[in-house]
């Protein structure tokens, strides 16, 4: 009980400090115009300008932060599931997920500290202005970071001390506080980013006119918050999935293989759950960017950066193929899975077809000779596949196919006993058919109408995909009552399937760096869009080639960091024998 009281006191103390900090943040803001930096305000060190250094550090910090913020979210859900299902296996797995996150936490802080130093070193004037705008809110961030550390370590290290009964609920509450603080922390940092893209609470000269709340609540803040929140979950799931695959491949006992197979499956599931709604959140963010500034939207999607959305399609297509492949391999874990393997080829056709449509560019980069042979800049047959209605159809059908793979896997271990199961199946088949028809119909409608209708008709497509998923879950859930559950033979997975789990974090990491480059580039030659000009020699959008090199470099570096984290995590389990024991 003494321990519990100590936690309560701690919670009260931090709440008081938080209130004090909020009061501090609400202080007066200096109403001076944004400074206009000159070339002399951008120092170089050893001939290296600020951009590559800040870019690499920011990206590394973001990768790590996304991971360490996401893990406690799904760990809390898994822990709660373990309590409700009275199954200790969930608890063991949740703790192991946290162990990986803990190892990465200090690296996140180090990358963040490095980024902060680099920003003040290379961009002192810009940072001076941002500090003036955000004032005490920056201290709130620092305080949140302290709280995040406290809750994180208390949550992890009190796991066994608060394991059963009421104490378990106390532990879950600490997890909830940790996630509340972590998510707020990210939202605060997001407000700095969205302020530079779409400033609010300041006049056209950059002088502060509004409150800190008005400054934070810019038009892009909430879309970015949602997008990052979901993406973090998908990303975190993908990374711990790779850890499970690594442990699966190196496991020496059938028991360990079964444990890590189950962990890999759960991680893949988390990645899919975070990933399925992600395109819609991205769509919202993009729509808000267009609504804020048409010019900014066109810079992102209509100019040279549009090519990156084709690369994005390749990466997301790879992710979906890997996820589905893993789920199909999983059908082998149950005896009932065999009855669905025949359907896999049809799902594969939809996925590959959708993938090909998605990667088809609208405008091709052609030589004059090629334009002459082609009779224009657009291919007659493939050109129409380059515009958004085709992409929207492809994406939604691919998401439906992915959900179907998951549904088949789930059904493989359950034989329904409900008398109306045959009718339920008929209703589900009809739902998929009509849903597909609606998605294709809305897409075709988009082809024969002006842009505003095209964009408008994409919303029913999203609603259709979500409807199919929700109704299938409901019908399956009702049909599954009293179902005969057959054993899932965890560990009965091919080695190849584990490599699909390695594809996910690599593709996700590359994708995040790529899209981050676009998000940052849309500011063009502004530090703070339309308010504070970038007058450094690097005030241009880097070429796709240069960006590709940087993105790949940071991705490889992050993979090295993650391998170190995995190694560190499993080091905990290896013990050196005492010299007397080691003697033959």
């Amino acid at each position: 009980m003494r321990l519990d009281r100590a936690f309560v006191l701690l919670a009260v103390a931090v709440s008081l400090v938080a209130l004090a900090a909020v009061a501090l943040a609400a202080g007066d803001s200096a109403s001076l115009a944004a400074p206009a930096p000159t070339r002399a305000d951008y120092p170089t060190i050893g001939g290296i300008g600020g951009r590559p250094v800040v870019w690499a550090l920011a990206q590394m910090h973001l990768f790590l932060a996304a991971f360490v913020l996401a893990v406690p979210i799904f760990v809390l859900v898994i822990e709660l599931t373990g309590v409700l299902a009275r199954d200790a296996r969930y608890d063991v797995m949740a703790r192991e997920f946290m162990k990986i996150s803990i190892a990465a936490y200090s690296l996140t802080a180090l990358a963040g500290g490095g980024l902060t130093l680099a920003l003040f070193l290379f961009y002192p004037v810009v940072m001076g202005y941002l500090m003036r705008v955000f004032q005490g809110q920056v201290l709130v961030y620092a305080l949140l970071f302290v709280l995040e550390s406290v809750f994180l370590y208390v949550y992890y290290y009190s796991w066994d001390a608060l394991r059963y009964g009421d104490r378990k609920w106390f532990h879950l509450s600490i997890g909830l506080l940790l996630n509340g603080v972590g998510t707020t922390l990210m939202f605060v940092a997001n407000s700095w980013v969205t302020f530079t893209m779409a400033p609010s609470g300041v006049d056209s000269s950059g002088a502060v006119t509004g409150t800190i709340w008005q400054i934070m609540q810019g038009p892009l803040w909430n879309p970015l918050n949602l997008h990052r929140f979901l993406a973090n979950i998908a990303y975190g799931g993908a990374i711990v999935g790779a850890y499970a695959a690594y442990r699966f491949l190196s496991a020496r006992t059938a028991e360990a293989r079964a444990h890590y197979d189950w962990m890999g499956y759960t991680s893949n599931f988390i990645a899919v759950v975070g990933f399925l709604p992600l395109p819609f959140a991205g769509y919202w963010l993009m729509a808000e960017i267009y609504a804020y500034s048409q010019q900014m939207g066109i810079t992102a999607m209509g100019g040279v950066l549009a090519w990156l959305f084709i690369i994005q399609a390749v990466l997301i297509g790879s992710i979906l193929l890997a996820v589905n492949y893993y789920l199909w391999c999983g059908l082998g874990r149950t005896e009932g899975g065999a009855r669905y393997t025949g359907y896999v080829k049809y799902i594969a056709v939809v996925l590959v077809g959708g993938f090909l449509v998605w990667v088809t560019p609208h405008t091709l980069i052609l030589t004059p000779e090629e334009v002459r042979v082609l009779g224009g800049t657009h291919h007659k047959v493939l050109g129409p596949l380059g515009i958004m209605p085709a992409k929207n159809m492809a994406v939604n059908l691919m998401l439906l196919a992915t959900f179907l793979s998951f549904q088949l896997f789930r059904r493989a271990s359950r034989t329904p006993t409900a008398t109306w199961a045959w009718a339920g199946n008929a209703v589900i088949v009809a739902l998929y058919l009509v849903g597909t028809l609606n998605i294709v119909g809305a897409g075709l409608y988009g082809y024969i109408t002006p842009t505003v209708y095209k964009v408008g008709s994409s919303v029913p497509q999203v609603a259709t995909t979500l409807s199919v998923i929700v109704f299938c879950l409901i019908i399956d859930g009702l049909m599954g009552r009293g179902a005969i559950k057959s054993d899932v033979r965890w560990g009965r997975m091919s080695v190849r399937s584990q490599y699909a789990l390695f594809v996910l974090p690599v593709a996700f990491t590359w994708l995040m760096a790529l899209m981050g480059y676009i998000r940052s580039s849309v500011r063009t030659h502004w530090h703070v869009y339309t308010i504070m000009r970038d007058t450094s020699p690097e005030a241009y959008i880097p070429t796709i080639g240069d960006a590709g090199n940087m993105i790949t470099l940071v991705t490889v570096a992050f993979m090295a960091v993650i391998i170190f984290v995995f190694w560190l995590t499993q080091l905990d389990t290896s013990k050196q024998l005492a010299p007397s024991e080691a003697m033959p």
């Binding site: 009809a430 739902l431 409608y445 408008g456 609603a463 409807s467």
Partner: protein, 41 residues
């Protein structure tokens, strides 16, 4: 036979559902719905 009837009924019900949802979403966005949509086709 029963299976076919249920399937047909389900198809009709889902068509009605998606039509209603599409209608509502397009209407909220101020875009043409129902017969107004036809001249554009």
């Amino acid at each position: 036979m029963n299976r076919l009837v249920v399937f047909a009924a389900a198809m009709a019900a889902w068509l009605a559902y998606f039509y209603a949802v599409d209608w509502a979403i397009m209407d909220v966005q101020g875009l043409p719905v129902g017969w107004d949509l036809m001249p554009r086709l």
